[in-house]
Amino acid sequence: MDSVVQLQKQLVDYIASLFHEGFLDEQFNQLQQLQDESNPDFVVEVVSLFFEDSERLLNELAKALEQKTIDFRKVDAHVHQFKGSSSSIGAHRVQKVCIAFRNYCEEQNVEGCLKCLQQVKHEYSLVRNKLETLFQLEKQIIAAGGSLPAT
């Protein structure tokens, strides 16, 4: 079917662009390789956990940075978690911001931290949109009777 082939090409190109633009890195490939017939939804499951976890962490970070006296160790602990989870799914740009964020925590630099919070929120929402688009494309392919291109 023409449309399936077109969709499959769209997906391959889309994923390639996400890598090219640095949204995703090699770790995302690793996740895809762990998906198979016995674990058909593995990537979606892990990424969904990431979304949930990230929302929670962003809330905690906002709260922690609103305090009169900021507990930088607490802030750092949250950023460390965020860095870990983003790295585990290959969300490269989010991870990079987290690294800068941690440096500001170490310096106890409030302004730097607030700036990073905005940046990490932004990068997170970008990669979330991209991944949701990716999953939508995959759904369309499967609904049209096609199979997902091998990674």
Binding site: Q27, Q30, Q33, L34, N39, V46, D53, G84, S87, S88
Partner: protein, 220 residues
């Protein structure tokens, strides 16, 4: 000693072997636990995940309260083994940075306990040389950087595969060479009781040699 003639038999037996290889995975992050569990199951291991060092100690039967119970029990029945009721764990893989008990603390507790023979691998997202040497000095088998990849894991598990005792279900029969050349796996035990595995390809049929079986030899 038997010669195994096909890679398929080799691979199947490897997978069988590892199905009895039980890994205790310790990480406070749900995402990490899910990933590690998938990686380990992909490597055909049995996996148990816990989210803290305390839960790991509890699972291993190393909480103070558990150790007291066991010594009380054995003082009533001196014949009973302290190993009774203890779950078999072949490898512990733990994250380094965890709230409460860190992976390093867990490592220390295990290495100072009756279960010190269980190898412990520590994982961390941070490449800190002092942290790495601290863990290695405390007896960690390996320090892996996260995110852990399947190839890292397979490299980790390889030597453990060779050390496991022969499982009674493993079929020791060989197949006849079909004349197209095949892979022969030589398993020998050297003077230091180390298992040495080597592979060689043969291009012509070789006569099957029968050698006396050695006890306790791990056969793939």
């Amino acid at each position: 000693m038997e010669y195994l003639h096909s890679d398929i038999a080799d691979h199947t037996q490897q997978r069988e072997k590892l199905q009895h290889f039980h890994v205790l995975a310790v990480d406070d992050s749900l995402i990490e636990r899910k990933l590690l569990e998938r990686l380990l199951r992909e490597s055909s291991c049995k996996v148990t995940c816990v989210d803290s060092g305390d839960k790991a100690l509890e699972y291993l039967g190393l909480l103070d309260s558990q150790e007291i119970d066991r010594s009380t029990a054995s003082s009533f029945c001196p014949q009973s083994s302290t190993q009774e009721g203890l779950k078999t764990v072949n490898l512990i893989m733990t994250d380094y940075s965890m709230p409460g008990m860190s992976g390093y603390d867990l490592l220390k507790r295990v290495k100072g306990s009756s279960r010190k023979d269980i190898p412990v691998v520590v994982m961390s997202s941070e490449n800190v040389p002092s942290r790495i040497s601290m863990c290695m000095e405390e007896g960690a088998e390996e320090f892996l950087l996260k995110p852990v990849q399947l190839s890292d894991l397979k490299k980790q598990l390889q030597p453990h595969l060779l050390k496991l005792p022969v499982h009674p279900k493993i079929d020791m029969t060989t197949s006849n060479d079909n004349g197209n050349g095949s892979m022969i796996i030589d398993i020998t035990m050297n003077n230091n009781q180390n298992v040495v595995v080597s592979k060689r390809k043969t291009m012509t049929p070789e006569p099957l040699e029968r050698r006396p079986q050695m006890k306790g030899l791990a056969v793939i």
